[in-house]
């Protein structure tokens, strides 16, 4: 099959994750991975992002497929149920707003900058080596730490389900995928 330029976006995704190890402020770039899918879904009513441009999906596809790091077993039924997918989306949102709230607290001066990346919403990894100060408010850095936590957490979850089930199992419960599908459903007037 013919390769397109967008079949190489996994490089962008990997670069993004690596840059966050060196300077956390790069995490802000991740907002593109957040807004582009939504814009495509709202404007065009398609999951064009998932279907073509998502570098994260490609990383799982490559590692699990080409590199064989996947058992390639069926995902359990409950993981593809609407209850779990929508529940996970809501959970993700709650955690996201909590992250924004923490950022706000730093901006408001009510809390000091915490140089940690929180993995799986629980484990606080020290990440101070990737912080070299900011020209802006520490709140800018707090958001970067928070956003990178979200990205790293979803990567780790994705890797675990990649190994256990099919390479791109993450796509079954990926909040962005669920959200864009919901938008398309509403926009295209199906049940």
């Amino acid at each position: 099959m013919k390769k397109h330029w967008y079949d190489y976006l996994w490089i962008v995704e990997l670069t993004y994750l690596i840059l966050g190890f060196f300077n956390i402020l790069f995490a802000w770039i991740g907002l593109f991975f957040f807004f582009i899918p939504l814009i495509i879904a709202v404007a065009r009513g398609t999951k064009g992002y998932c279907n073509r441009y998502c570098g994260r999906g490609q990383v799982f596809g490559l590692l699990g497929g080409r590199f064989g790091l996947s058992r390639k077993k069926d995902i359990p039924k409950w993981m593809k149920s609407k209850a779990f997918r929508y529940g996970f989306l809501i959970w993700f949102f709650i955690m996201f707003f909590q992250m924004l709230w923490n950022t706000y607290l730093v901006f408001a001066g009510a809390q000091n900058l915490r140089q940690v990346v929180t993995l799986l919403w629980t484990f606080k990894l020290p990440w101070n080596w990737a912080y070299h100060g900011t020209l802006f408010h520490p709140g800018v850095a707090q958001f970067a730490f928070g956003f990178y936590s979200v990205m790293l957490t979803s990567t780790v979850l994705g890797l675990i389900t990649m190994i256990l089930f099919k390479p791109r199992s993450w796509c079954v419960y990926c909040p962005m995928g669920t959200m864009t599908q919901l938008i398309c459903k509403v926009k295209n007037g199906s049940k």
Partner: protein, 70 residues
């Protein structure tokens, strides 16, 4: 005249559980499966040869290869 009935294998998507990720469309050698309007994948029965590539790829395992009469 007798019309010869042949059994052919075709992919069928359980659209209710499809997450519209498009992994199937990426691997189909004949572009016989496509995600329609971001909601669910659909098979073009006239193009599909039932090779099963899409079914193996589908992370939600919602594609079945069925025998159909043509």
């Amino acid at each position: 005249m007798d019309s010869v009935k042949k059994k052919r294998r075709k992919a069928a998507v359980n659209q209710n559980d499809c997450v519209a990720c498009g992994c199937c469309a990426k691997v189909c050698p004949l572009s016989a499966i496509q995600v329609v309007k971001g909601v669910a994948a659909q098979v073009d029965g006239s193009k599909c040869v039932g090779c099963g590539k899409c079914a193996r790829e589908c992370p939600a395992s919602v594609i079945e290869i069925r025998e159909v009469e043509t």
